[in-house]
Amino acid sequence: MKKTLATALFALLMSSTAHASCSFQNTVPLKSLTAAFDAWKAVTATMAECGNVRSELDQDFRTKQPAAFAANPSLYHIGGVSNGTLVPLMNGGTIRPLDALVAKYGQDLQPNQLIKVDGKIMSVAMDVNDQHLMYRTDILQELGIAVPTTWDEVLDAAAKIKASGKVAYPLGGTFKPGFDLGLDFTNLFLGFGGQFTKADNTPSINSPAGLKTLEMLKKIAAYMDPEYLVSDSTFVQKQFQQGKIAIANLWATRAAALDDPKESQVVGKIGLAAAPAAVKGGKPATTLWWDGIVIAKNITDAEADAAFRVAIAGMGESTLKAAPAAAVWLIKGYTPTKYAAGAVASANGGAPPYPSSTVYGLVASAVGDGAADFLTGKKTAEKTLADIEAAYLVKAKEQGLVK
């Protein structure tokens, strides 16, 4: 026990000293606001090596970024975004096109890293991310369960695991109301072939696909820790690490943490696969995300120059070397680690990209806030969906998207 702890401690020390170095010396004071998962920790650590960079890592960045970037001068120079959180910044007109900067400093970038909207490069992506299946290989093997490919199979497996009593709760899931639950709903809803809105932006959530999605969510929840409504990604990650759950649909960026001996009790027992499909033979019921950086508009050009160089350095080879398993990187020279298997499988299975648009942003907010009412038994499925549509309509009308 003592020895393993000592080695763990040693590894910790090494990991914090073996910092990747930055290729140039930055002299302009810069600030960044990004999410806080391991990939961002790695990227911001490299950025800090360039000097004069202060990084804020915050999982709540999506609510803080719009106002902070709208300020003049912007409170941050560099922002970490994903396809879902790029929209508010685009709508606010608070980030700058990067074409000139990419031409100047972006020799090492790969073409598929450049996120173009309407012909202009608005962001540079660093990794691809999705929620996919993670499971305990030892438990599935012992009980003779094949790796599930649809959610119905997941439920069957869960029933068997529950009967065996091997873990406290067979399933885990990010069901916290708001963003997390909204995304789970989205994944399944699209998997059932649903369409969120019609051409005139009026909602069509109250549909057979919506009903099936809610029913499925409830069936999944029945196999989860009853406190599932406070369960976000970190909660599920910890449940896995402490050996309390056996199967979950979780972010690819969390996979490496499950194999981290410092925190996890299930090292080497985690398997990854494509997200289960909603219907037999369907595409994996998940959405593909990318994470990347943007540069604020309300800063001087000199600052933007420095910020871009620092950000590019953060997404460079040295980060890849320091944390090869932290994400499914898009960085040049990346060779997929075993932790990329799930994401690659989902993508190859044809999972759609996350719908990033203003309309969908409103849908996601309404769904995330409203879907819990069905799970808690407060409302019937039809009433829940009708109320979600009503909540969406209020917002959409407020914004002038629906007449």
Binding site: M1, K2, L5, A6, A8, L9, K31, L33, A36, F37, D38, K41, R54, E56, L57, D58, Q59, D60, F61, K64, A67, A68, A70, A71, N72, L75, Y76, S233, T234, Q237, K238, Q241, R254, A257, D260, E263
Partner: protein, 403 residues
């Protein structure tokens, strides 16, 4: 003495009272003490569901540092001794060594020196003493058991919070905001409270009633009013900067109108507005308790209105000011709603910054760091109660609660 005997409590009731108080004190302290204990343990111990493991911290002892029962005993004894000495010495020290004969300054001086000496005593002298005692006693049979390390302790989370994550920035912001709020609201509160207490007309009554309604106002209402202004203050304030005379004055402060969102000093305005009704109300009831004869006597002696206030009232108003000041301090220091909505991640005070720690919570260590941050925020409050406990009670007795 019939009365004394009759007032004496029967033994049964005494026992009930003692038991009740014991339960109450435990209930009052337990969550806080437990949180404090958790912050000194490595995640494996802190998050254990076995209370003994949390208390003794075996993994912490193995990986970081352990202290013996003897050390703990010594430390506790030292805390009690230091506390008793300070509570005796503070008042005479404050009065006798007051610089320029000004008592409040004397209090500040006494507080700082007591805190400093106490800290050196508790954090340096006693641990060193304990260490040497441990080595001396280690070979003695039974006592030696007590002198060997038994309880694990680690300071790594505090180091991470204060040094790695630069919590002192948040501390600075808290300091700016609380100082500003306490100074402004006490100044305004004292003057307005005095005026209202001495005028007593219909006007004064309605002002007080208005203050009451404002006191009851949910803070979110005010924030709703301030937020849009703060976000677009640059445009709103532009005319001020362009105006002929005022503009010149304004240019002394900054070249362009500031964005108030994310400025700690701008928050002072909002918090003072929230706090002011209460301060005025409290100071008014307090001045009501000071007999009018006092300032009338001063007026007869030939003082002006202002001189009467200065000479006759100020010397006797300190208990009220301290109580009111304490409540103002608590409001500013403890606020979450206003600061989290009007400040952004990097200009935040300590309390909303906590949620940032919780939000970057992607590993178990992050969670313990959040706990360590919480304890760090609580510690100053702890000393505050210790120092001002008597003033709170006497201040409330002296009149602030009559109204």
């Amino acid at each position: 003495m019939i009365t004394a005997r009759a007032l004496r409590t029967p033994i049964g009731l005494q026992l009930v009272v003692a038991a009740f108080l014991a339960v109450w004190v435990v209930a009052a302290m337990f969550p806080l003490l437990w949180t404090a204990v958790m912050s000194f343990r490595v995640p494996l111990d802190a998050l254990s569901s076995d209370p003994l493991v949390v208390l003794l911290g075996p993994a912490t002892r193995a990986s970081a540092m352990g202290i013996s029962w003897l050390d703990l005993l010594l430390e506790v004894a030292a805390v009690v001794v230091v506390f008793r000495i300070t509570s005796r010495v503070m008042r005479p020290m404050a009065v006798q060594y007051a610089p320029f004969g000004y008592v409040p300054l004397g209090w500040a001086q006494a507080a700082i020196s007591c805190l400093g000496l106490g800290a050196i005593m508790l954090l340096v002298v006693v641990p060193m003493l304990a260490r040497s005692l441990d080595t001396a006693l280690a070979s003695v049979p039974i006592i030696g058991q007590l002198a060997t390390p038994a309880i694990g302790i680690t300071l790594e989370h505090y180091r991470a919070v204060w040094i790695t994550h630069q919590f002192y920035h948040n501390f600075e912001n808290s300091l700016i905001i609380t100082t500003g709020v306490v100074t402004v609201s006490l100044t305004v509160g004292t003057l307005a409270g005095y005026g209202l207490a001495r005028s007593g007309g219909r006007m004064a009554f309605w002002i007080l009633m208005l203050a009451l309604v404002f006191r009851a106002l949910p803070h979110s209402v005010l924030v709703t009013g301030y937020l849009p202004m703060f976000l677009s203050s640059r445009e709103l304030l532009a005319p001020l900067w362009a105006a002929p005379v005022i503009g010149t004055v304004m240019h002394w402060f900054s070249a362009a109108p500031p964005t108030l969102y994310g400025q700690p000093w701008a928050i002072i305005i909002v918090l003072v507005s929230i706090n002011q009704p209460f301060t005025i109300w409290m100071m008014r009831s307090f001045f009501d308790g000071i007999p009018t004869e006092l300032d009338e006597a001063a007026r007869v002696d030939g003082c002006t209105h202002f001189e009467a206030f200065w000479r006759a009232i100020i010397p006797v108003m300190w208990p009220g000011v301290i109580t009111t000041g304490l409540f103002s301090f608590l409001l500013a220091y403890n606020d979450y709603l206003v600061t989290s909505l009007l400040l952004d991640a990097q200009s935040q005070t300590m309390v909303p910054a906590i949620s940032q720690f919780l939000n970057r919570d992607t590993s178990s260590a992050d969670q313990i760091e959040a706990i360590a941050a919480a304890v760090s925020i609580t510690a100053p409050l702890f000393f505050l109660v210790m120092a001002f406990q008597r003033q709170i009670v006497s201040g409330l007795t002296a009149g602030a609660v009559k109204g």
